[in-house]
């Protein structure tokens, strides 16, 4: 029998214990940023080292891992992280949201609702929601401690003053269980409502900034706003050009070099699943039919 090249899931057991303690503390104090001793990972910062360490610490041999980047399972980042764990932990991987027990993500929450028992791990570049107006770490720590969150609204005020509406579309700040203000990582604000009351466990890892935070299942998560400028998610005028889905987050895709473009699901698994189920949109070529009837769903 040959010894494995790495410990299970790459990190040594002591490091995993340290990270698990940080995760448990995060779960105990929803939305609170727990410092942890971030390790060097065999990938550069900005490639999800925080998320990778959290995933490494929670992964067991029976887990089924899904990794997405901007909603897609097939981007370089997603593929390399998935391959990393397939190699170092020998876990099963999937692109199907429903089949995954652990989902590591950058920039999206899957469209299919998560269920109890699933864990979603977010890769976080900047965990501190107050950073943009208060660069001093000592000061932001006091602000969190004393629940002094006026600055978040200064930022939202400024958005409205400059753009006529709250122009923050990514990393839109939320308040957790009426206590900590949290940066949900650069997911579109479209996904913010999915965090609220989710039956899944949500974990956030910031590698460069050495912070872990968490939302236990069924946590109350509220997107901050003004009474006269309430929080709203992005709305799309047309359904997905491929699967005709509405109420999902769409990406604009350029289809040719003459300015042609179409809007398609950013969640590639969701789109494929719908197409397998027989849905099709206006932009999907349909063999044999010149005037295909659009899916009315």
């Amino acid at each position: 029998m040959t010894l494995p090249e790495y410990n299970f899931a790459y990190l040594d057991e002591q490091t995993k214990r340290m990270i698990r303690r940080a995760i448990l503390k995060g779960i105990a104090i929803p939305g609170y940023q727990v410092p942890f001793a971030s390790r060097e990972m065999p990938m550069p910062y900005g490639w999800g080292t925080g998320g990778v360490q959290v995933t490494a610490a929670i992964l067991g041999p029976d887990d089924v891992l899904k990794v997405i980047d901007q909603g897609a399972d097939d981007t370089t980042n997603a593929v390399s992280i998935r391959a990393f764990f397939a190699k170092t932990a020998n876990v099963a991987t999937t692109t199907k949201t429903a089949d995954a027990t652990v989902i590591q993500t950058r920039h999206r929450i899957p469209e299919a609702p998560l269920s109890a028992g699933q864990v979603i791990v977010y890769q976080v570049p900047i965990p501190e929601p107050l950073r943009f107006l208060e660069p001093r770490e000592t000061e932001t720590r006091v602000m969190h401690g004393l629940e002094e969150y006026g600055l978040i609204h200064v930022k939202l005020y400024e958005d409205i003053a400059q753009h006529g509406h709250i122009a923050t579309t990514y990393a839109y700040p939320v308040k957790v269980e009426d206590r900590y203000v949290m940066d949900p990582s650069p997911i579109p604000k479209f996904d913010n409502p999915k965090m609220n009351g989710s039956p899944a466990l949500q974990l956030f890892g910031a590698g460069r900034e050495k912070r872990i935070y968490a939302l236990p299942p069924f946590t109350n998560v509220v997107s901050l706003d003004f009474e006269d400028h309430p929080f709203e998610v992005q709305k799309f005028k047309q359904p997905c050009a491929l699967c005709n889905a509405t109420g999902v987050y769409l990406d604009e895709v350029v289809t040719d070099d003459r300015g042609g473009r179409m809007y398609v699901c950013s969640d590639t698994d969701h789109c494929e699943t719908r197409r397998e189920e027989g849905h099709h949109g206006a932009g999907l070529p349909i063999s044999g039919a010149q005037t295909a009837k659009e899916d009315a769903a």
Partner: protein, 257 residues
């Protein structure tokens, strides 16, 4: 009858062995403007920062008369209470406006920040209040979305004043508020300050090395030298009939110039 709004007793602040200020006792009464004067290095800023809770004291007591009737030493307040006081009941006007403003957000957001800090969540109302306060410091309403970086020195200072007053504080600390401004601009800011202080019935502790500023704004004066108070009294009396030789020297020097 009424009691002081701020009461300082036997205050000392050391920098190592060096004395920043010592043996400082005085009261500030509601609605009163007290000027702390003295030459550069006499300990004025040290004293102001101590009594405004921005700098740790070495010894002595600083008590504040809270709106709820308590009169605690600042050191006995929790950090949360102290910080709440600083952004509601108090104001602090820095000599350099950049130290007291957020230079990268609009004038409206600068004025609205304290309102948002105490829980105002209605954009339109915050904006209306900000517009009103910009008007009171003579900044045109159409500059509300401009950032202070686009403002002149005098406008920045007026914006800093508005930002402090929006929560209707009772006590304002000022450190050389016109010190960085051109003489021509100083007069306008001083006039404005004088009007606001009397309209709002503010208590003010103002640090200045400029006796003309003290004369224009204050009713009472504290003269400092080498970290100690050498003379206190009604401003007009101190300036017209200085008792301490050091004050006499100070007054003589402006009469000459």
């Amino acid at each position: 009858m009424s009691s002081p709004i701020l009461s300082v007793s036997n205050l000392e602040r050391r920098y190592g062995d060096f004395i920043g200020c010592t043996d400082i006792s005085f009261d500030v009464w509601p609605g009163e403007v007290v000027a702390i004067v003295g030459e550069s290095g006499s300990g004025k800023t040290t004293l102001l920062n101590c009594i405004s809770g921005r700098l740790e004291r070495s010894s002595g007591s600083i008590r504040y008369n809270m709106r709820d009737g308590r009169f605690p030493d600042l050191a006995d307040l929790s950090e949360a209470e102290r910080r709440f006081l600083m952004r509601t009941d108090w104001g602090f006007v820095h000599q350099n406006p950049a130290d007291g403003l957020r230079m990268r957000v609009s004038a409206g957001a600068n004025v609205g920040e304290r309102l948002m800090a105490i829980g105002d969540r209605h954009y339109g109302e915050i904006r209306d209040t900000a517009t009103e306060w910009l008007g009171r410091v003579e900044i045109a309403g159409d500059r509300i979305d401009d950032k202070p970086v686009a403002f002149s020195g005098g406008m920045r200072q007026r914006l800093q004043i508005a930002r402090n007053l929006v929560t209707r504080p009772r006590l304002i600390f000022m450190d050389e508020p016109t010190g960085g401004l051109d003489v021509s601009v100083q007069a306008r800011v001083l006039d404005l300050l004088r009007g606001l202080v009397s309209d709002l019935g503010l208590a003010v502790v103002i640090v200045t090395h400029d006796l003309a500023v003290a004369r224009l704004l204050s009713q009472r004066m504290i003269v400092m030298k080498s970290g100690r108070i050498v003379e206190t009294g009604l401003t007009d009396r101190v300036l017209d009939d200085p008792h301490h030789p050091y004050t006499q020297l100070l007054v003589a020097s402006i009469l000459e110039s």
